[in-house]
Amino acid sequence: MSPREPSIPASWELVVGLEVHVELATATKLFCGCANRFGDEPNTNVCPVCLGLPGSLPVVNARAVELAVRLGRALGCGVETSAFARKNYFYPDMPKNYQITQYDRPTNSDGRLELPDGSVVGIERAHIEEDTGKTTHMGSGGRIHDAVYSLVDYNRAGVPLVEIVTRPDIRTVEQARACAGELRAVMTAIGASDARMEEGSMRVDANVSVRPAGSGELRTRCEVKNLNSLRSLGRAVAYEARRHVGLWEAGERPRQETRHWDESGGRTISGRSKEEVEDYRYFTDPDLVPLTVDGAAVAEVDAALPELPAARRAGLAAAGVAAEAAALVVERGQDGLVLAAVAAGADPGLTVTRVVNDLALDDWSQVTPEGLAALAGMERAGKLSATQSKQVLAEMAATGGDPAAVAQRLGFKAMAEADLEAAVDEVIAAHPGEWARFCAGEGDDRKKMAGFLTGRVMRATRGRADGAAVNRLLTNRAIRP
């Protein structure tokens, strides 16, 4: 969670829509057979088509269309016969100086996205387009204007993208972050994209404006680019909203323009103004034929759609998992394990705590729901301390095995009550000052001392003590010394 950004006054309302580009997880590019791979030597995954050499022609990658349709259906979009168009503008990383995209006939339109808090953001469209190459400006500044020379890598040129355009339904910074996060969750759940903002396989631009609270108007918006994380998105939207409110309240008005988020400066910087807006001269690309996805194909895609994050969160909630924890478990893709463990009798809260805090994201394939349920049961029954439980879980993840057997192998058994009492008494005797503060303390100081004393007991017992049991013993002794 990022620190809360100062918000705008309650008399103003935030209006945000997102434009999200996701790279589709295909083996090859959108219009040629070159590998769609991140991180290779520059200009090694190129051919006449993606270099836009004279005479070359694009042929659409059927797998990309399939993934785009899957993505559209996951967002509840209607799928229509669509067409590719050319967006004409000059830039050195555009091999043809036009981008093949979709304009008036997108593949997917009119969908909706339900966020973890239950709110809904409308999806205007999700269309297919090709990516451009990547330019590195050498020399001062890193911008094209003052570059001494520029290097272009065309490995990314022609990589399939879907651009998802939401309706301006977002009203808070948290919702903006949640919307991008939810899109990422949907993309990964359906296998359409790995959707990594840091690597650029998911790129989020935010259209930000403000209006007097309660009015239905749409005021001048600015498009904020260069948002490399959910945190940047939240900060940028909040900054831009405050900037707009400041301008309006000072009797000025924002200019419609593209602005870049400056992460280190914590501000947005004016880019090119939309007043000198480029005319992209869109027209239907005559090199490609219309894309028709018939009803049967759409039904096939629907049937193959996995359960989506919203439904999975609902499933966890129904199993007794708290909402925030459920979102986290789904994001981590461990909801199947949790649900099965709960079905096998595990306590939902304790199971989620162990899974979210102590189970690595990358390798937990050896952990079975039954094993997890048994572990939670042992911990619940006081047969394992929290510390021991974490160690057993780590061992289960590494080598598999049943928690009872693992605990035995590690030499863990619940401490006999008498041993635990002896340990507690030793710690009390060794730290009379802290003990006195604990007994006399109120609120925070008592809590602090409890933490201190429990920590000492844990250290003395090498983690075999159960934290809850120690706490109980300390409390009892404070009442009846």
């Binding site: 006449p48 004279p54 005479g55 694009p58 042929v59 000059f90 027209f283 090199d287 034929v289």
Partner: protein
């Protein structure tokens, strides 16, 4: 010697591909300095290819249907062993890393590519005077143009430099020079021949087409280059046409080369608007010369004499063709030619910034006609003008296609002149753009409709220069090659024209 005769003799071992090639290289050496049909003569590469054909024949292998036949290839088709310039400074010296599909199919068929032929820059023109490397001259009269934009290819066949040539036809660029040079030229149905490796001018109109000295040779070349290609999404499989084209015979039978049959029973419409007008339907298009109209009349009479049912037909919308074409083709060209920016290949003229380098490169690299069309196309696609110009042109195009399709419900084929005049003097029309553009008035409707059309020489004009008659058909009418009604009518005209 026809291409088919050459291929037969080479395959039979009666002639060597090498001797055939040397004969043609000798002719090139003799007259090319005067004609300038080629941007690049590929003597060494051709000799190597011919030697391979001869070796294959010696090994007893089947050398392909065009074994040892020299072919001239328009210089807007990519060839991996020779520069591809589109007769433009901006691509001077550029060597593609790949062969166009049509070129690849030529090689696979045993053809020997002798050189890259001259054209109006980026195929924009009707006289080949728009080449950055100087004009091509008409072998029938070197003071005259060969037509264009495939003027180099048509002149190469007419001069005997090669029995076959490939051209490209966006608004008549195969048929009009074929007519002016007295040879046969086919513009196939859009999608019959893969455009992969054809440097785009106007992608929705461009088709590669064969140019040959005879109808049978043109069919043989078309057979080799046509057919579906996974690299071109707009390319179709002619087998899929069978159901939709009941007059094309033999769709299910074997597709054999040979002499086409007659025209008995074919219903042929004489396209009034392009033949000087029709009473009650307003005037025809401007500029069809009396001698050309007279030869067309004689051609119609000849078809009737050969057993076809002939009747005049009006297709009023073809009058809109020229205007629609000069909006649609430049619009697509403005986008297609954006890639020539000095960044990756071809000419680069440096500048202080990347944008300035783009401008300097394009200013120096493109000729006047190309710049004119890029500006026109950019304008008609611009916000505020798109609906008034481009969208309206698309509606005109749809109307022309619809009216032609309606005509083909009553007629198997339509006939009209290919070009309004015979070959004109060099320089005669360069100052008057509209008169230059009018050269394509009869050929443009087929491009806009995506339909096939063939130009066949039929006699001479008052100046003694060749006249071409055009036979047009509905989509797919050139399949099967050499045998469908389109080819049969073309062959009938060829026979009737023979002295």
């Amino acid at each position: 010697m026809t291409a088919l005769a050459v291929a037969e003799a080479v395959a039979a071992g009666e002639r060597s591909a090498r001797s055939v090639l040397e004969e043609h290289l000798d002719r090139i050496a003799g007259r090319e300095p005067e004609i300038h049909a080629f941007n690049w003569v590929m003597a060494a590469e051709a000799r190597a290819a011919a030697a391979e054909i001869d070796a294959a024949v010696a090994r007893g292998e089947a050398p392909g249907p065009l074994a040892g036949v020299p072919v001239a290839v328009k210089d807007n088709l990519c060839t991996r062993d020779a520069p591809t310039t589109c007769s433009s400074r901006i691509l001077e010296g550029w060597r593609p890393p790949y062969d166009a599909t049509a070129v690849q199919r030529l090689r696979a068929a045993g053809a020997v590519i002798v050189g890259k032929t001259n054209l109006d820059e980026f195929a924009m023109g009707s006289s080949t005077e728009g080449s950055a490397f100087g004009p091509t001259r008409n072998p029938h009269d070197p003071s005259r143009v060969p037509g264009g934009s495939s003027g180099g290819s048509a002149a190469a066949v007419a001069a005997g430099f090669a029995p076959l040539a490939l051209g490209s036809d966006t608004g008549g660029s195969v048929r009009q020079p074929a007519a002016l040079c007295g040879v046969v030229g086919l513009k196939p149905t859009y999608g019959s021949v893969s455009r992969y490796g054809l440097v785009a001018f106007a992608s929705s109109l461009d088709q590669i087409g064969p140019i040959a000295a005879s109808v049978a040779d043109a069919a043989a070349l078309f057979r080799v280059i046509s057919g579906p290609d996974p690299l071109d999404s707009t390319c179709f499989d002619p087998a899929a046409l069978a159901a939709g084209n009941p007059t094309a015979e033999g769709q299910n039978g074997e597709d054999r080369p040979g002499v086409p049959e007659g025209v008995e029973g074919l219903r042929i419409g004489v396209l009034a608007e392009l033949c000087g007008g029709l009473a009650g339907n307003g005037p025809g298009v401007e500029g069809v010369a009396a001698d050309v109209a007279a030869r067309t009349d004689e051609a119609v009479t000849a078809l009737e004499a050969a057993g076809a049912a002939v009747e005049a037909v009006s297709v009023p919308s073809v009058r809109l063709g020229l205007s629609a074409y000069y909006l649609i083709a430049p619009a697509e060209a403005s986008s297609n030619l954006a890639r020539y920016d000095g960044v990756r290949y071809g000419l680069r003229v440096e500048g202080a910034t990347a944008a300035e380098m783009n401008v300097n490169t394009r200013t120096a690299g493109f000729g006047a006609e190309v710049k004119r069309r890029i500006m026109l196309g950019t304008y008609v696609l611009s916000a505020g003008y798109y609906d008034a110009f481009y969208a309206k042109a698309l509606r005109a195009r749809a109307l022309i296609r619809r009216e032609l399709d309606e005509a083909y419900e009553r007629f198997d084929l339509l006939v009209c002149p290919t070009a309004p005049t015979t070959a004109f003097e060099l320089g005669a029309k360069t100052a008057d753009l509209l008169s230059m553009y009018l050269n394509d008035v009869c050929t443009i409707p087929s491009n806009l409709a995506g339909h096939p059309a063939i130009s066949v020489p039929f006699g001479a004009g008052d100046d003694g220069l060749p006249v071409g008659v055009q036979v047009m058909g509905p989509a797919g009418a050139e399949h099967p090659a050499g045998r469908s009604p389109l080819w049969r009518a073309a062959a009938a005209l060829e026979r009737a024209a023979a002295p």
